[in-house]
Subunit: 254 residues, 2 copies
Amino acid sequence: MNQPTSKRLRVDLLPQPELTYPDVVLVVDVIRATTTATAFLEAGASAIYTAASLEQARAFKDHDVVIAGEEGGLMPAGFDYGNSPREALEAKVTGKTVVMATTNGTRAAHLAATTAKHVLLASLYNAHAAARLAHELATEEVAILCAGAGGKVALDDTYTAGVLAEFIQLMGLYDLQDGTLIALATRRTYPDPLEPLSLSIAAQSLQRVGLEADVPFCAQIAASPAVPMLEGRVGDALIFRRYQPQRTTASGED
Amino acid sequence: MNQPTSKRLRVDLLPQPELTYPDVVLVVDVIRATTTATAFLEAGASAIYTAASLEQARAFKDHDVVIAGEEGGLMPAGFDYGNSPREALEAKVTGKTVVMATTNGTRAAHLAATTAKHVLLASLYNAHAAARLAHELATEEVAILCAGAGGKVALDDTYTAGVLAEFIQLMGLYDLQDGTLIALATRRTYPDPLEPLSLSIAAQSLQRVGLEADVPFCAQIAASPAVPMLEGRVGDALIFRRYQPQRTTASGED
């Protein structure tokens, strides 16, 4: 598709404050923030804001703004939605802004946004579209940044990074780095995505609060073409909108 | 061998300041610090001190103390040895203290030493002995802490963690965590240890300074029974000595 080039395909299994991103970043928090953000766009939301805290999210609440998030896996007091992608896909959010407050995914997105040219939210759910868009936008590097969980690498995010890396490799020549080879090894070890996702600490936490049905949702590969793409900021929050190919100006019929 | 228990087998692919270690830690910096430390013990060194900087290492130099370390892969000015395990194994260090100054491995060891009960230096070279000792010492958790490289996960360390985890699992029942499953997946993807070690960024750096012959040395599995074990501190440096099973007092015939 493209000419042979030698861009880098990098996977960072944990956000590290000292890391910088020169080009494109795919942020992955597959259980559940980046899957849920995509599901809200599928449901018709016009924008996703990622807020750094529950308090900050509450401050955004308005008649055309709904707030979604989690505290110990569950919907916080005063919120409209939790962080469930099943619920997000059914949500009445057409034309609305959804403010999401999550922990690991938000931290990773904000780290990427500090230096990157393009920040996309990626999951298994939008894996084809996110991989393709990253490949098309990149001039020197595609970085996949896994959110991890509480300072530790996460099996679900590492596996998803491996799926994304495999798709990206199909489209062009990339130099692979240590993290990429680890993610690819993880992906190849588990043919069925439901297995690594179910084994992850994130899935075990969901099971404790009765939300384990979110895991098969998150394990769907490439069921959505929607890719949340960073467009700007409002205060400390990042603004993501659905990437619209081949359009020069917005005409806004979501 | 042991009764069925349910200890945790944890792999941390990167040192993180917020992580704590309640029990046993195997620190892994396979290319090259933890391999080289073991090789110095094989050569008869009575102790390994890990110093936090080149300057600190230089301050230790004395008639029965040699200093070893690296700067860009090579031996720093005024040092007796570099960080090459081949050189360490041939070194004239019988009965001497070797002060080592390296970057990633030292940082990981110092993090582990802050909270852990037992800190061991592990590599492929001493993998059997290190895995067995960790299993025997642990009452609740064996953690394998990979040094990584410059804030990123390292393929060589992750692979080594997988080899160690596989050996530890042979000896008892352990609960596995996300990092452990990722390390095991990496280990199973590469049957020949030389392949992931050669692909790692650490090996590529050695090649640039003509030290690639260290890589096959580091890829030997279980060639040494020596396990450097943390025994104390002197100033900011950690003191490691060869673990001596079944001996109540030292009688020192290395």
